[in-house]
């Protein structure tokens, strides 16, 4: 094919190229529309299935509400469900210190973060969060620490787990009197649950 032939065929070739591009664009765009429609249908079908299941289980749902509503409200009052109740925690600490006759408790609370072991509990639409509290005690005896945790748990200030503790004997030089013999440091996680936006009552 000569240069003159190419020149003579320039317009048809350009037209062919334009048709090719337009065809490719039209096919691609319509294909994307179809894929999007298919995805939308799949979503709608999943929602329909969910709605059907929800309707079928509406009787069970009522039973569940009746059964768990009071316990849920108690958890709300205790500060497990909803926003963190740090004042409750500190009140609990103060009362526990008084009731367990300790020599005072130093505390330090870290910022709230997602609960590290949330996956163990399969929380669904609930968000589980934790705030780490570091405590420093001076104890008369090692067992005081266990007494402290038991009393703190009974205060109903929330739900916490003990992550780690360390105790060190204080050298008192053999003198026996009412004074701290052990220092202890512990780390607790105060755990709270929040109902996500998706979990609001529909």
């Amino acid at each position: 094919m000569t240069q003159a032939d190419l020149q003579a065929l320039k317009n048809p070739l350009l037209a062919l190229l334009a048709v090719l591009l337009a065809a490719a664009t039209a096919i691609y765009y319509s294909d994307q529309l179809m894929v999007s429609a298919r995805r939308q249908l799949a979503q709608q079908q999943a929602q329909l299935k969910e709605a059907r299941t929800r309707l079928q289980k509406s009787g069970d749902e009522k039973d569940i509400i009746v059964r768990y509503l009071d316990s849920f409200r108690q958890l709300q009052r205790a500060g497990f469900v909803g926003d963190e109740q740090r004042i409750n925690w500190l009140d609990g600490l103060r009362l526990t210190n008084q009731q367990s006759d300790l020599f005072g408790v130093d505390y330090q609370i870290g910022s709230q973060k997602p609960y590290a072991y949330a996956a163990e509990f399969n929380p669904g639409q609930l968000e589980l969060n934790q705030s780490v509290m570091r405590l420093r005690f001076r104890l008369l005896h090692e067992e005081d620490i266990m007494r402290f945790f038991n009393i703190l748990a009974r205060q109903g200030a929330g739900i916490f787990t003990v992550d780690q503790c360390s105790m060190r004997r204080i050298d008192t030089g053999g003198v026996i009197r009412f004074q701290p013999n052990v220092t202890a440091e512990c780390e607790l996680s105060w755990i709270t649950a929040r109902v996500g936006a998706a979990g609001e009552r529909k």
Binding site: K62, V162, D163, C165
Partner: protein
């Protein structure tokens, strides 16, 4: 079918027909003079991008049948080209057409060589066409075009002579077994009324003699003569020929027959005798094309352009079908999704109606249940140092010389660090990946103590520590006990120094560290 410009050229002038919609739409005559050429050019000016098919009716034509050795490809092209140059040196309008193969042993190829020997006849007309930029599809001799008449009229005569009155004279074309063999155009006036029968008879006789001389047909053979009578003026001639030549079959194609059988308007037959042939040329161009490559170059480009446009159109059509199918499917899917959404809405409405009768709850039933269950599980999962402290107390009962100085405990996915000592409270105390599904937590304790009193008997001290560790290891919930540090490091890689003086006073210390790890999920 695409439009065509059909041009019939003779010594008298040019007949131009427009082929449109599978028939001749209109027809014009231009004389072979200055006015005719000017009119022709003016006429062409209104035409663009239409391929021109040129037919020539001239005395200056030549036909030769020749046998050449059978060959293929470039060899054949070269051989035929050589032959053409030998036969026709003074004209560019020539061609060779392989009509068949010999029946002899060598099975040679039989060719029909044909040429327009006077190129000047068409030069002016052709130049006007080329100057206008119209693509020239081909140049054909009228007898070659008339071969199509046999197929159109379904004539099966073995020896057929078609006789037609043209402007330049009488055209006699002979076909044997429906294949072209010879054609001649007589010069002279054939319009002499009283002599017309004799004139036709003489020319037919001359042609038969010529065919006999060429050994194409003997005089004894039966011949069918077909008179093409577009003006219904050869009835007497036909009768005369039949009367004077009993060995001939003479048939006449009347004006009406021509119009009917060729599907041609009768009015067009009045315009020119070439309308019939141009009509045949419009349907199908013969294979014998006299036009050299430089003349048909424009037509080749025209065909390439059309092929590209056709390809583009096919592509566009395919894309349109594909796109249409996609859009149709998309609309179907959307319609189905709409129906599904409506069903979902209906179910949701029914569900809402039902839930209005439920006790007022701050969240969904599922969340209520989850929150309560999680709280319960969390309470059950709480671990304290109590269990390990109790174990250590029990183990210490058998080793009164061991004094615990420091105790560390941890419940997590990793063990308590050896040198951890103080608990480092940080926000990121332990952060396994939130999605980790098989996270196993376990309790571990780090016990730091010493042997008291210690009087330098390392062997006894180490035995006491190991016994302490063994008692811990025997606890059923213990996964492992590791002595992290002993009072004396007997590692051969390290240097060791001390004093062996046996003294009742306590000399030095016998510190140790033990790491205790419980089994998982205890």
């Amino acid at each position: 079918m695409a439009d065509k410009l059909l041009i019939g050229i003779s010594a008298q002038g040019a007949t131009v027909a427009h082929w449109r919609g599978n028939r001749i739409a209109d027809c014009y005559l231009f004389d072979h003079d200055d006015a005719g050429h000017a009119g022709f050019k003016e006429h062409l000016a209104s035409i663009a991008n239409v391929p021109a098919y040129i037919m020539v009716d001239a005395v200056e034509e030549d036909y030769r049948f020749e046998t050449l050795p059978h060959a293929f490809g470039s060899d054949r092209t070269e051989m035929v080209g050589r032959k053409l140059k030998q036969h026709y040196r003074n004209t560019p309008y020539m061609t060779a057409w392989r009509v068949g193969r010999d029946s002899g042993k060598r099975r040679d190829d039989r060719y029909l060589f044909s040429a327009l020997t006077n190129s000047e006849l068409i030069d002016d007309w052709l130049n006007a066409v080329v100057a206008r930029g119209l693509p020239v599809a081909g140049i054909y001799l009228l007898p070659m075009v008339s071969e199509a008449l046999l197929q159109k009229l379904d004539i099966k005569a073995v020896n057929l002579l078609i006789v037609a009155q043209h402007g330049g004279g009488l055209r006699l074309t002979f076909f044997r077994d429906r294949q072209f063999r010879l054609s001649r155009l007589t010069r002279g006036d054939s319009g002499r009324g009283e002599n017309r029968v004799r004139y036709f008879t003489e020319e037919i006789s001359n042609t038969r003699l010529y065919l006999h001389a060429l050994r194409t047909m003997t005089l004894d053979e039966h011949l069918t003569v077909l008179l093409v009578d577009r003006g219904d003026e050869l009835m007497e001639v036909a009768a005369g020929i039949a009367r004077d030549n009993p060995s001939l079959d003479c048939a006449r194609l009347s004006r009406q027959e021509l119009a009917t059988r060729l599907d041609l308007a009768e009015s067009l037959l009045d315009v020119s005798p070439y309308v019939i042939y141009l009509h045949l040329l419009g349907f199908k161009a013969p294979q014998s094309n006299l036009a050299p490559e430089n003349v048909t170059l424009g037509h080749k480009r025209y065909q390439a352009r059309r092929a590209i446009y056709a390809g583009g159109a096919a592509l566009a059509l395919a894309a349109a079908v594909w796109t249409g199918a996609n859009l149709f499917q998309m609309l179907s899917l959307r319609s189905e999704a709409g129906d599904t959404a409506r069903q979902t809405a209906q179910l949701s409405t029914r569900y809402l109606e039902i839930t209005r009768q439920f006790p007022a709850a701050p969240t969904s039933a599922e969340n209520l249940k989850k929150a309560v269950e999680i709280a319960q599980k969390l309470r059950e999962s709480v671990r304290t140092p109590e269990m390990i402290m109790a174990m250590v107390s029990r183990a210490l009962e058998g080793s009164p010389t061991i004094v615990i100085k420091e105790f560390g405990w941890k419940y997590g996915t990793t063990e308590i660090e050896e040198g951890g000592g103080r608990v480092a409270v940080t926000a990121a105390a332990e952060t396994p990946a939130p999605a980790a599904s098989a996270v196993v937590r376990k309790q571990s304790g780090l016990i730091e103590g010493e042997i008291r009193p210690f009087r330098g008997d390392y062997r006894a001290a180490i035995e006491t520590i190991n016994a302490f560790a063994d008692r811990l290891a025997k606890e059923p919930t213990v996964g492992g006990v590791r002595v992290v540090k002993l009072p004396l490091n007997v590692n051969p890689a390290l240097s060791l120094s001390g004093n062996t003086l046996d003294s009742p006073d306590q000399s030095g210390t016998a510190d140790f560290k033990l790491l205790l790890v419980l089994k998982p999920n205890i």
